[in-house]
Symmetry: C2
Subunit: 414 residues, 2 copies
């Protein structure tokens, strides 16, 4: 039997999504709550979560075990942010100001804003600069409880810069307690060097993808008017699948144009955004195994209509939540804040919101059974919330206060 | 000439509302920005803010001066939260959960939620317990940059408990770097011991107010259907004025029922909420010297319609922003987060939002010329924002990161 190396005793409670794999329907909001609780960890893995006397009896602290007093604290799984654009240089603060005054997309563009300003800044920086910024961003995320994050490319839009982004994210993660999952988003927008989306997608498939697969485990594309349409998305995603990548899609952010039918047909991992998805699309997604990733901080920044979140839950979709952290449309790396927006604006319960950014987010990243739950055998990624009730994580807006963060069995602070 | 005791040199910028007194119309968004800048402080007061060479020449560091390297940091005035209910016991996390599922006011009430659950918890606690909680809340506020906060009573609703609240807030502030401004809110709701609002207001005026004036500098009342109507508000506010208190009012949160006409007639300090205020009310308020205090975190928690913020600004109202921090309808103590909501949902610019929770909030608290600006003669309450642009305060949602907080000339962290 493995020796207990970290022992968190007498917690007010330990709270986790229930079951195994992704959760949907009623089970989305069904948590497993032990109160009081202790947690025994061995190395990087959780040995047991349960009643203090049971855990103490079955997994007593070993010789060099670190013991942590959990009284008055609530243990939660480390949060999983399954959709971020955390690898970028520059900022879009001037654009935020213009947007607050109601500037249109065209006006922002004319003022030098928009995604291409981030592309320019990111292309100009070195891999070292970029890695340092990603490392800082991962630290911000960790402050807010994120222990695993997806990081997309997509501000390079050429071979050199896309690979630079993927390498920089990897280097940053080597120096950060936060684990990352890299996603290749070459087709984020059409760069100025190309006349048509089709020509750029050809270039992506032929010239960038073969090297990107060395660094990324998943592929993503932005399906939207003015970006990429369904035929290009199909071509790109099929090529990525041949390279062994998991598939994802930005779909239905502003308009419905076939993202969901394609996603369901190809059986991809997730469609993200869905602010413009109608009832039919939501029901179709809910009947499939394609996850629905909702990004309410982005909807806040852009003043978008809200997705049909309640319908997605009721119809049985695998709903996940993420920050969409990026400099233009969601300069927010806090999942607890996103959970609050999910409860106040999307009609999710705190329990549903917690599952959506732990177990279900882990599923979106292909990490089922590894992270996203407090359960035996899972990686020991854990938060000790300094609050009398786990629901404070969503309820206390801007107040996510952790007494400790534990990553791969290592106590990061107390 | 006063000796410089704290010297912040070579800041990337120092940013402050311009002018003197409350700002309105165009001047609401006109900031005074020095870049680069240094700040010289003597004791509790600011001596000078300006170009590094000018400040160094005119106010060189004294013998025992603390020098702080401001490179890469932006100095801002300490934030002023002019509307909080930070003095309470218990929480309303179960109510937050019910509300996320769309529970009606009646259902919340039936489940033991609502303001009276906070009243019961607050009545039951001792003054010491309450002071400890307020002290903790003031610490949370300070984390988010608040250096001066209003704290209301209003969860006691009888003589003993209302006075206990006011005394507890005072004791907490004595132990906290955050200065408070106490407001008596006896008529927050009608307690179960009284049949009618009128009887309770009589009781408040005759039995509680005479003692409350020993602890509070302002009076407030909740004008709303089911709470207090205009005739009672008039009677209460006139009595409070005779006792020398500044006057404020919760008005137009759910319904328009004469709050603004009464406020304008009596020339009170502010009307707070205004989610239900129509165009006529907004224009009338804008023409007066009564400040409009907007509380967008509360509108988020309760899913209320948004106030006509842009119209208020355009018509020249003295617009302030506050958190409304309380356990039921706004469990959020972060003014930077409120500034983000003001920019994303109310159409205020970052500059307008900054003035609204510094200079104008100070005006609402009767602190004109004392706090809310970085300018010679003002109290040295200051934040050093760890960001390349002051607008990050609103732009970086949930990311307000301060390298230091300075209160009354004292460096709290660096």
């Amino acid at each position: 039997m493995s020796e207990t190396t970290l022992f968190i005793h007498d917690l007010a409670a330990a709270v986790s999504p229930s079951g195994i794999g992704p959760l949907r329907g009623k089970s989305l909001g069904e948590l497993e709550i032990h109160s009081p609780a202790s947690v025994a960890i061995s190395g990087e893995s959780i040995l047991a979560v349960g009643k203090p006397e049971d855990v103490m009896r079955d997994h007593p602290p070993g010789t060099d075990c670190v013991s942590v007093d959990g009284r008055g604290k609530v243990a939660l799984p480390g949060l999983v942010d399954c959709h971020t654009h955390a690898c970028f240089l520059g900022d879009r603060a001037p654009e935020f100001e213009l947007r607050s005054g109601g500037a249109s997309y065209e006006e922002l563009h004319a003022a030098g804003g928009g995604i291409l300003s981030t592309v320019n800044a990111t292309r100009e920086g070195s891999e070292e600069e970029l890695a340092a910024v990603v490392w800082r961003h991962l630290g911000w995320m960790l402050d807010h409880g994120t222990t695993t994050a997806e990081v997309k490319s997509g501000y390079g839009l050429n071979r050199e810069s896309e690979i630079k982004m993927l390498r920089a994210a990897k280097r940053a993660a080597e120096e950060s307690p936060v684990d990352i999952s890299s996603t290749f988003l070459g087709p984020h927008t059409v760069p100025p060097e190309f006349e048509t989306a089709g020509e750029y997608v050809d270039h992506v498939i032929d010239e960038i993808l073969p090297e990107a697969v060395r660094y990324a485990g998943a592929a993503d594309i932005f399906v939207e008017r003015g970006s990429f349409e369904v035929p290009e998305a199909r071509r790109y995603l099929e090529a990525c699948r041949e390279h062994g990548l998991a598939l994802r899609m930005h779909g239905d952010q502003f308009t419905e144009r076939g993202a969901i039918p394609l996603a369901v047909e190809l059986g991809i991992r997730s469609v993200d955004h869905l602010e413009a998805t109608g009832e039919d699309g939501a029901k179709s997604l809910a009947r499939s195994d394609v996850a629905a990733v909702l990004l309410p901080a982005c909807a806040l920044f852009l003043d978008l209509p809200l997705p049909l979140a309640r319908l997605l839950v009721q119809e049985g979709a695998i709903v996940a939540l993420a920050t969409d952290f990026n400099p233009g449309s969601s300069f927010c790396e806090s999942l607890p804040l996103v959970m609050n927006l999910a409860c106040t604006r999307l009609g999710l319960s705190p329990a549903e919101a917690l599952t959506a950014c732990t177990a279900n987010a882990a599923h979106v990243l292909g990490l089922d059974g590894k992270v996203g739950r407090l359960a035996s055998g899972y990686q020991a990624d854990m938060l000790l919330l300094d609050a009398p009730d786990w629901r404070y994580l969503a309820y206390h807006l801007g107040g996510d206060r952790f007494a400790a963060r534990i990553k791969r069995g290592r106590l990061l602070s107390f």
